[in-house]
Subunit: 386 residues, 2 copies
């Protein structure tokens, strides 16, 4: 067995750890974020590996398409197989054979979104496992401990996620608690190789967002995130809010928009000065046959592709597009074949990685506005026009 995954050797090129903005075009930033386990070129997208695997994909395939950092889910890994088992096997990186950086969420979002019955107290949250209904408890201290046991490179503070919409006084109360929990999260951090990020909440209300942003950034941390967005609100409202607050986050730290989003969401958030993203969207919809192309979305199950010999996306150089026809992709998903998930996921993730790459190039060459306009036009194209 390959024993070299953990600890990873630190390449010489990683000297000078930290985040640096290399160029800027409007609010859009091109940056480089150097971590112990690798370099993250920003703007960057993190595929989601909920249960210690990006569904259907192997680590080498992700690496080959340019993936630099993965997200793991604290809640899911805590319930199964358990962080102590993963720790005993050398940590999450070695367990899942991923050498690059891993960011873990705090578990807060899952606790609030997957579980009807949760009881929030000052010390933490009581909830029932969605697997077997057993009683569980997460607090800032336990969430951080789990993330450290997993060996995460980037650790998210434990926060409270309210449903939208919530009454203003409840949001204010929750923001205050989230700030107290952030202090406790920071105090619980004892692993030097891990970096703690704080999470700005406040819903869609600009004043509350700004207040939360001031609260969270009052704590000195290696980076900050916007949480509680892309949870069902109309995308234009989310884009507008992010445009107002994105650039209020500290200039010299990575800015992470959690759980976002569509290709258009990513464009709009980079336009607002965001650096890092994660989302299940490209992998999840791939499994249902919705594929992103440079000419808009394709729903590959449709009858119209039954005998279509063209590649999915003629502009794409991914394995799927260079080896298979739309007719084959349609056949696989209609037949319920596992390889359908693979080929679709390869394409969608490849598309996201190339989109981020092109965004970085557009910022570097200060052609951001033109690039943004072109993308917004292309991604709105109808499937009938392809």
């Amino acid at each position: 067995m390959d024993k070299s995954v953990n600890p990873a050797p630190v390449p010489k090129s990683l000297e000078g750890r930290g985040f640096q903005v290399l160029s800027q075009c409007g609010k859009a930033r091109r940056g480089r974020w150097v971590l112990d386990r690798g370099i993250i070129d920003t703007p960057q997208f993190m595929p989601v590996g909920t249960k210690a695997t990006v569904k259907g994909m192997l680590p080498e395939e992700l690496q080959a398409m340019g993936v630099q950092v993965l997200l793991g889910n604290t809640y899911h890994l805590h319930l199964r197989p358990g962080e102590k088992i993963i720790e005993s096997l050398g940590g999450l990186h070695r367990f899942m054979n991923w050498r690059g950086p891993i960011l873990t969420d705090s578990g807060g979002f899952q606790v609030f979104s997957l579980n009807g019955l949760t009881k929030v107290e000052e010390r933490g949250v009581m909830f029932k496992s969605h697997l077997d209904g057993s009683a569980c408890f997460l607090s800032p201290e336990s969430s951080i401990q789990i993330q450290m046991d997993l060996g995460a490179d980037i650790i998210m503070a434990f926060d409270e996620c309210l449903p939208h919409p919530s009454p203003r006084d409840l949001v204010l109360e929750s923001m205050d608690r989230t700030l107290r929990w952030l202090h406790r999260s920071k105090a619980a951090m004892t692993r030097e190789r891990s970096q703690l990020f704080g999470i700005v909440q406040g819903g869609l209300d600009l004043d509350l967002r700004k207040l939360s942003l001031a609260q969270i950034t009052s704590v000195d941390l290696p980076g900050y995130a916007l949480g509680g967005l892309s949870v069902g609100e109309p995308p234009p409202l989310m884009h507008a809010l992010v445009y107002e607050v994105g650039d209020l986050l500290p200039q010299n730290k990575p800015r992470y928009l959690m759980g976002v989003g569509t290709p258009i969401d990513l464009i709009e958030a980079v336009h607002a000065g965001i650096d890092v993203f994660d989302c299940v969207l490209p992998t999840r919809v791939a499994r249902n046959g919705t594929l992103f192309t440079w000419k808009g979305r394709v729903r590959i199950k449709r009858e119209r592709y039954k005998a279509d010999e063209r590649p999915l996306d003629e502009e794409c150089d991914c394995y799927t597009c260079t080896h298979y026809s739309r007719a084959y992709l349609r056949h696989l998903i209609v037949a319920g074949e596992i390889v359908s998930c693979r080929l679709n996921t390869i394409h969608n993730l490849h598309f996201y990685m190339r989109l981020m790459e092109r965004m970085r190039a557009a910022i570097d060459s200060c052609q951001w506005l033109e690039f943004r306009k072109e993308c917004l036009t292309r991604f709105a194209m109808s499937e009938e026009d392809q």
Copy 2:
């Protein structure tokens, strides 16, 4: 899109097409079978790609582990997506991106095994699609036409498969019909690049088998198969029957035992002089977590592997065994992750390919009996002893 798959260039090394026995040790034969699309070293195992894909695997991965020939299912491909669509897209090889030889079955076995209501007439079989219940018809002529449309390198004659046990007079009647259908199958063959195989039936009765063998081999063909075995009968009875008739098949033609089997089945059939096999077993049980190792079977779902940091098989050099722990494989299957299917299938197919490779080496060096004995001992090991 890669247009070079069909037609495949014929390498110079393919000069001298046909089958040749290179060495023999007892009845066990080591051979080389040269086809337009590639060389098949025998004894050889063909993974099953029922619906134009070996479940969970990509062609490049199969090729890398030494797979030389795949099996496709005429019945399934006829119903969905249909051979005419596949033909219009350049044939099955190009459709599924597999450059090597493909053998297609006749559809007969599926018609009889998947469909309760079938009506056998002299001209062919009426049956209902298992997908939508629609009325379908297969005859020697239509089965051969479908297989030619798919572009199969090796085409199986359309035969009747009786349930076991069946009354002797019914078996005799069916064998006579199968012989008449074989003549019609041969007459329907108009594709020069394809080779037709006849199928010996006759159930478990040695006399009937011998009679069927004499009937089928009375028709001059490039190869012959034993059909209707491994359909629920006790393995020792099957092994004994194959041992009696395997070597009665023509010496200078490939001998194919259809739908077989376990590692022990393969050893016993090679011992009887069989050259080629196909079976869904290694891929199907991989998806359920039953894994073959050089020390017997492992059921990876078991609690005992929860924190087991060892590779699945310490003697195996496959991707799964060199990169992951038993604990990770158990986690993936318990969590219902798609990658579980991939890693398990990679291992089981790799194991089968290495088993065939070692069989060939043992015959080459005339150490077949020792090798057989060692395998029978190892494969019978209990999981508790590992």
